[in-house]
Symmetry: C2
Subunit: 342 residues, 2 copies
Amino acid sequence: MASSDGAPAPAKARLRDVAQEAGVSLSTASKALNDKAEVSPTTRARVREAAERLGFVPNALVHSILAGRSGTVGLITNDLEGRFSLPILRGAEDAFGAGQMSVFLCNGREDAIREQYHLRALLSRRVDGIIVVGSRTNPRPSIARRVSVPVVYAYAPSHDDADVSVVVDNVRAGEIAAEHLVATGRTRIAHITGDATYTAATDRAAGARAALADAGLDFVGPVRYGSWSEAWGRGATAAVLDAPQPVDAILCGSDQIARGALDVLHERAVRVPHDIAVASFDNWEPMIAGTRPSLTSVDMQFDAIGRRAAHLLFAALDGKATPGVERVTPRLVVRGSTVPQA
Amino acid sequence: MASSDGAPAPAKARLRDVAQEAGVSLSTASKALNDKAEVSPTTRARVREAAERLGFVPNALVHSILAGRSGTVGLITNDLEGRFSLPILRGAEDAFGAGQMSVFLCNGREDAIREQYHLRALLSRRVDGIIVVGSRTNPRPSIARRVSVPVVYAYAPSHDDADVSVVVDNVRAGEIAAEHLVATGRTRIAHITGDATYTAATDRAAGARAALADAGLDFVGPVRYGSWSEAWGRGATAAVLDAPQPVDAILCGSDQIARGALDVLHERAVRVPHDIAVASFDNWEPMIAGTRPSLTSVDMQFDAIGRRAAHLLFAALDGKATPGVERVTPRLVVRGSTVPQA
DNA sequence: CTGTTAGCGCATTCAC
DNA sequence: GTGAATGCGCTAACAG
């Protein structure tokens, strides 16, 4: 098992054993370990020591039954790679306070049956609440009508307005990106983005367009919807460059699309950002890290989503549910693809 | 909360409530729901129906206490992005059988204190076992000497030979990659890889060198250790091309390094794979997806590691622990960077 | 200050 | 067939 030395058999010690070892009664031992009531310091010390010696770890299962709260939450994800889930989990862990709340992570894999299966297991384990993380930003079906614990939807909102959801404000993301391009003097901006069936694509485009309108501008050419791939970034960028109207900036729907764009610009000896600036969305570190120049990108603040989801779950536990969709504001990270760097 | 319709208050139903609703005693209800002993079909049906109506979900906490096994395992990860953890979790979920076993995922964040904290929480929740996922392949300290449940180390092995570990066979990975290059007719192979303090770098290099030796070959030039970045891939590739000895293949320590290499080769109008073949390690989909040509890479089989870890944990639960390090064989994925594609 | 008792929700003996 | 009784590990009221 765990130890190589012939350590004392790691049989789980019970409070009873501790009490016996310390020569006190069950309840005294309990009080001593829980800093309860009046227990003489000597006794307390003796109990503590006994517990230490026996490697006593209180049984949280029992405590959960007694308290009616388990101190656990379920996180149901549908995101295979963990691209969103892990950062969100991190944020949630932070908000919960490490060790206070433990998280059951289960992967629904986009399969409703599987999700139901996991849901049942979570309820059976008496989680205090559930966070559902979607795989895309589109609204998703509510998890179940009769769930006995609060549910918070993260990243992908629930279809049902009565549910509690936290999402990235993609419209705002679009605005932020466009405002930045305008602020750095760009006026002829093309937009290449992903699949139009993703609200992430349409929302960002709408936000950007609105921000441009505020500056008396509009996109040059149509919004070029395609796929979230580098290949599409390359293809669409070539089309943009070959179009009659010149551009001085390309806003890309994702870092991967932007990589494709940079590739083609480099190939055609277009200087970035001097001739054409490039900005994108996601700020996905591994994608960003290697680009030349480094990529200005709008960060989606997954950690913040996780933290807010945890907070909203807490609030719901206290009966203070806040139905509706909360939007987290993304954050622009400026790098060399829009502003020349030292 | 969860439901928008005025669904019946989702107060958790207890077995007692079901029994009452069905007009039977507690134990009869229990037997009926657990397909136990002799209960008249009519009674059983009546109980079932009552349970359904009340949305009864058995309390697994109680069952865990009674059975002495909780049906949960802890997964302690140190991998911030979930790059390894999530695929490993997936594999483990598969091996456990969805819903049978629930997984507590906690993030140690490379912080021993934090890890201990989580460990304590897991033990308190009476997990049946623990899987520890490292952030790099280097051996890591054993989690604790006196842990009362089996522990399996995944990805990064434990320092302690008495522990149970499952890792990728990086030496084999190196061999596989080199064998492939040799099999496709390459004889002058350079190797660019990451930080030499990572065993992943040194093991792969050693494996590749051994395979080359079997073919009467050796690397052209020194193994170029650096960092796991595209920038290093670019820099080192330039150095390789500028060196006096010509090469016909570059083996890269990671997909990111390979991206950097492809970049420079493309820039210098070197044809891949015609003039120089490129192969790498990790087979990380998002990194691979956009390259031109697509990248031949050795897949690290994280799912398999997760599955094996789960199996080993099961075995240990049955008292059949298998101390030592088990190595999972990686798998070559051939693409256009080594073999011209249709 | 310390010990005794009841009971959390359920499965599992046993009697009836 | 069915139901009342014991107990899992622990804490919260009570007594002493």
